[in-house]
Symmetry: C2
């Protein structure tokens, strides 16, 4: 029976500051629920002189990671620096020194999760990472605990708040990507270099983590096909709405015949499904399983306090085990082989928007290319866009088709003299 | 290190049959994840001769509960009989005999949860009850684990699938209550005696369980104000839709100034909030907290496999502890005093529909009664319903008002000569 549980904090940014504040403000409640007080033993910062909102014990701040990692009073290291390095080294060293780790680091877990978890197993410590996906919305513990008896069939998630905010602005206010991005940056929802968010990289990290847990097999970020939202235009949202769809950046993982498809890209979803209604910076993850059916988790995906909520859930989980002298429970084994299905093998419906010369027979030429590749059309919209220049816009929705065929068709269409430009290709996801 | 974990099943109805099948079908997966095989040692049934879908070991079926409870090979008793007795006795006896218990029984947990949990604590066993609320949708473990560092501000839930199905039919197809109920009964969504569902009793049980966990204080079903959906009419749904609202049977728990409000009743919610979009037999629970903000859990609230998913999550949780020789973790203490706020103290907005004599001055008379009680009107609709009989319908939406004043006003209005009938009173719930 330990009399207190020591916490070492790596990073005192937005999340670290939140964790430190709540550890202080709620110390009585947390002590009661954990069975012993949680004591913040130290915090790694970059700049000792900076003012902090959270009041910390004297001498708790340090610029040397080893002051935290080598401190025998630290039982749990909370890593909230973010980025690959030095976070990875700190995590591995903490484990080697027999410390439990709680991390909010999606990049490290997506790239090195298997290594970290097997290292933790060897040293008999716990590594928890609820905060690495969907911030304050519980998803990792529910996958591991509540859905444990289920086979996961698929995951469909909106797991990047920045892009969902931008897409919501584009849909609701008819804004183009650049305008909506600038608004997101102004509000602090997007970084000055927004690449990680708008190119789907952040969502791919998170999807790799979720897929690994859902399919009980190692999926890394490199396995995830990812495509961003930068090429979407206000027109696409208008057409989508006319056709009864919303456009969302979806993170999709599915398993068929033993192969796992993992992909992040803009997708059209029918406007009446729950995911279509997830607006602004909110996140939602729908898990489809064999027993429980579709279960949806919806909430804030970022922010200091939501992320602190997730970090402290993990901290409390470990703290209760430490207090009652319980050994770390076994981690899921990630040794299973998994076959990652190539993007070319995907079969779904497609939306295509293209700008063509307005002249009799153009539409027929395009349909011929599609027909030759076995792609049939479910609906089509043709609009004159510029009478003088004789340009028109053609919007097509296909029936289910093969990704490889669709890509080949687009290449062929792009070469047609009568086609000025292929505007967008958006995959259409339909569920029962 | 135990070599296998013995399961004793009390009840082989829809859920019990599901649990038995999945224990059989997924034995390899469950053994791998638990660290040892789960063995179904026996199942209590009412009728030995009935055909069963799940194949059970010879001699596993019994009509005597003691064959299960006294069996030394049973480590976990799974109670899926339902109802207060004999389920309560079986649960208490199992605990006394040192067995862990998993139950799907909302009535027993709502009425006797505190007693059961303290009995379990005394005997060092676990009692888990994820399946008692919202079937396959995780909510109890997330409240206890994922949101542990949060103060819960409120819970707003749609936790009865039968009534949500009926309300959805009434909204989408303009049906009256009786017609929609008959459709639900035909599909097996409502029982032949639907009282427990349509009067809000089932939802009150579940809300008592959720509130107890959320506020860490004992709330029993008797503390919950509950009002059913039987008095709602097709007109109410038309007016609600005109005003931009949906009507849902909400289970609401909130805490203000140390007092807990717990109530189940039909409520109007703005049509653009997530809860308004939960249709059919689905369940959803939105938990508002200080750190994580609003978190929504959405999925199937009943059915054999969704409920089996929840039961087995609990079974696996306990099984892992048994296998690794871990003692039962401490249960939440339910000794805290809680002040239940009386319904009269509620303050919200109200929708009222009344049938009046069509005559000049009638509206003014009604407004005077309301004004005298400090109730002001946000919007009003007056419609002639029967020209010959000179009857009209008045629909009012109030600003925030006190429940006590509104009830007094309705009594006074009902006594006015010009008022034929007060049709409906529906509380309007608005969140940011």
């Amino acid at each position: 029976m330990k009399e207190s549980v020591g916490i070492g904090l790596l990073g005192m940014g937005v999340v670290g500051g939140g964790v430190a504040s709540v550890l202080g403000d709620k110390s009585a409640l947390l002590a009661k629920l954990a069975g012993a007080p949680l004591k913040l033993q130290g915090a790694l910062v970059r700049d000792l002189s900076r003012q902090r909102a959270a009041s910390l014990p004297d001498g708790a701040l340090t610029t040397h990671a080893d002051d935290i990692l080598d401190n025998p009073d630290v039982d749990i290291v909370v890593e909230v620096i973010g980025g690959e390095q030095p976070a990875l080294d700190y995590i591995l060293k903490s484990i080697s020194l027999g410390k439990h780790v709680v991390t909010a680091n999606k990049e490290v877990m997506a790239k090195h999760g298997a290594k970290i978890l097997s290292h933790a197993q060897k040293h008999g410590v716990q590594v928890l990472f609820e905060a690495s996906v969907a911030g304050g919305t519980p998803i990792i513990a529910p996958l591991l605990r509540d859905l444990v008896a289920n086979e996961v069939v698929s995951i469909n998630g909106i797991i990047n708040g920045t892009t969902n905010y931008i897409l919501t602005k584009m849909a609701q206010e008819g804004q183009d990507f650049g305008v909506a991005l600038a608004a997101a940056q102004e509000l602090g929802y997007a970084e000055s270099d927004p690449t990680n968010d708008v190119e789907g990289i952040d969502a791919a990290y998170k999807l790799a983590i979720l897929s690994t847990l859902a399919f009980r097999a190692r999926v890394s970020d490199a396995d995830v096909y990812s495509e961003g939202i930068t090429h979407l235009t206000a027109q696409d949202f208008r057409y989508a709405s006319e056709l009864g769809y919303a456009i969302k950046l979806l993170a999709i993982a599915s398993k068929t015949d033993g192969a796992v498809h993992v992909r992040v890209h803009p997708a059209m979803v029918r406007s009446d499904v729950m995911l279509a209604k997830v607006d602004g910076v909110l996140n939602a993850i729908e898990v489809q399983t064999d027993l429980a059916g579709r279960v949806l988790f919806h909430g804030r995906g970022a922010g200091d306090m939501p992320t602190t909520s997730a970090v402290l859930a993990d901290v409390m989980d470990i703290a209760r085990n430490i207090v009652s002298g319980i050994e770390a429970p076994p981690l899921p084994s990630l040794t299973a082989d998994v076959h990652i299905s190539p993007m070319d093998a995907l079969e779904t419906k497609y939306y295509m928007r293209m700008n063509v010369v307005e002249r009799p027979g153009v539409f027929a030429q395009i349909l011929k290319v599609l027909g030759d590749l076995d792609i049939s059309i479910a609906s089509a919209i043709q609009k004159e866009t510029d009478d003088d220049a004789r340009r028109a816009e053609i919007v097509l929705m296909t029936h289910r088709a093969k990704e490889a065929s669709v890509q080949a068709a687009l290449q062929a269409i792009d070469k047609l003299q009568v086609v000025n430009e292929i505007g967008s290709l958006i995959r259409v996801e339909e569920w029962d």
